[in-house]
């Protein structure tokens, strides 16, 4: 898994060196050189962690510990790793009280930092999932009629497992496996994963079905045939077609070799227009879209058409069930 982090360090050279070293460990890093820029950047993009040198900010800016507290307040799920030349128990405890994930003494041991970054990324996901679950619980327990807009019921995209569009099928499979584990653990999570571009924007979705279809190209031919047929096809006809085409005939070995050449961008599901809904649209509108399109979920966009969440049929149905139960009929 690639982790995406933000480095905050007034020392530009130190930041550049760290960025390069982290690249070797599949950690994608960007750098800013002031606390103010960090506040802006952290709010724009969904970083897995922030690494901040405690000596930044300098001059008239807020001190490092205050910057930490501000960052945490703006982004409660964000995990912040502080770098310092002088770590003692007192300032450590203060940093942790303000929300630091870890405090690392310089000079940095890169392997230890990499480990910490991946732990921070995992912790961020847990934190986001818990927060979303609590918010969902609050919404479901809210008096009937309060959830009127799509944004009241959607799941923010940070709560979804995600994979970058340049990732390999191997990484996609691991991500889907993680997503399934959450379902198995009853966390009420999602079997699908979101596909992100380098700017962490959602560009598509990937499901177990997408992977299976991609591994057997004969499905493409079948899909085209089914799409181009003007009348409905009876089950016997479809069965006979399947017998002729005989998908999955080759041993799995061949198919896995093929998987090595597949790119996520080519196999992901790119949502159709009908699969998008605005965050401020009414629940009624969303129900209509789900029903008419026979969708299991809709991608939720903000006013700038940026994807900010997913509205699941299941969650919407749960909300309706609560309303019906409240009627007492």
């Amino acid at each position: 898994m690639i982790a995406k982090i933000l480095i905050v360090d007034a020392d530009r050279q130190a930041a550049a060196v760290l960025m390069n070293r982290l690249k070797d460990h599949e950690i994608q890093a960007e750098a800013v050189f002031s606390a103010q820029d960090a506040f802006i950047k952290a709010g724009q993009l969904n970083y897995d962690a922030v690494i901040m040198d405690l000596m930044t900010p300098k001059g008239n800016e807020v001190d490092g510990i205050t910057a930490l507290a501000i960052l945490k307040e703006k982004n409660p799920d964000l995990q912040i790793i502080l770098l310092t030349a002088h770590a003692n128990m007192e300032n450590s405890l203060d940093a942790f009280k303000r929300g630091a994930f870890d405090l690392i003494k310089k000079p940095i041991d890169i392997r230890s930092l990499v480990e910490t970054i991946f732990e921070a990324a995992a912790q961020k996901k847990i934190h986001a999932q818990k927060r979303i679950q609590q918010e969902k619980q609050a919404r479901l327990e809210a008096p009937v009629g309060e959830a009127k807009r799509v944004r009241d019921l959607m799941i923010p995209h940070e709560a979804y497992a995600a994979v970058f569009h340049e990732a390999t099928i191997f990484e996609a499979v691991l991500s889907l496996e993680d997503a399934q584990k959450n379902v198995d653990q009853g966390h009420d999570q999602h079997r699908n994963v979101l596909v992100l571009n380098n700017e962490h924007e959602v560009v598509g979705m990937l499901s177990p079905l997408d992977i299976l279809c991609a591994l057997e190209s004969k499905y493409d031919n079948l899909n085209n045939l089914l799409k181009n047929s003007s009348d409905g096809l009876g089950p016997e006809f479809i069965q006979s077609m399947m017998a002729d085409v005989d998908p999955w005939r080759k041993p799995l070995q061949d198919i896995c070799k093929k998987a090595a050449g597949l790119k996520i961008l080519d196999i992901m599901h790119t949502p159709k227009e009908s699969e998008y809904v605005k965050a401020d649209d009414s629940i009624d509108h969303a129900i209509n879209q789900l029903v008419m399109g026979r969708h299991q979920s809709l991608l939720v966009t903000d006013a700038q058409d940026k994807i900010i969440g997913v509205l699941k049929l299941q969650d919407l149905f749960e909300s309706i069930c609560n309303k019906i139960k409240a009627c007492g009929i």
Binding site: M89, S92, F96, D102, L103, Q123, I126, K130, G186, H187
Partner: protein, 129 residues
């Protein structure tokens, strides 16, 4: 008489009982930086051996371990160290077992994977009582 194992005035002395070594290592590393000194036990029986020789401010007990049933370990803890608060860690499907643990005297429970901050808050709250 069990030895008092207290490395510093303010540190919380925690006994962590969990057979998932990777998980324990990550947690104890995080906790030690936050003033919680962690003694690790890989199994219920190892934890009992350790508790014979040392006192702890609190214990963190995973309910699903290979060698002994978590509730049995809890019951033994409650006999050996009745004042030591025990926080249980359980998987999402095992909340009933965790609630049973409360009846046997556990302080509270958390569902894995748990939020580190929440876990630390709970340990600190348990030690204040």
């Amino acid at each position: 008489m069990a030895e008092n194992h207290r490395p510093s005035e303010t540190a919380i002395n925690l006994l962590m009982v969990d057979d998932e070594e990777g998980y324990v290592n990550v947690l104890s590393k995080r906790m030690s930086k936050r003033g919680i000194s962690v003694t690790k036990a890989n199994s219920g029986s190892e934890a009992i051996q350790i508790l014979r020789r040392h006192d702890f401010d609190a214990a963190l007990l995973d309910l699903k371990m290979e060698d002994m049933d978590g509730i049995e370990v809890l019951k033994i803890f409650k006999v050996m160290a009745p004042q030591m608060p025990v926080i249980m860690l359980t998987g999402h499907g095992s909340e009933t077992t965790a609630r049973e643990g409360i009846q046997y005297g556990a302080y509270d429970y958390l569902i894995k994977p748990c939020n580190l901050e929440e876990l630390i808050d709970k340990i600190q709250a348990a030690c204040k009582k």
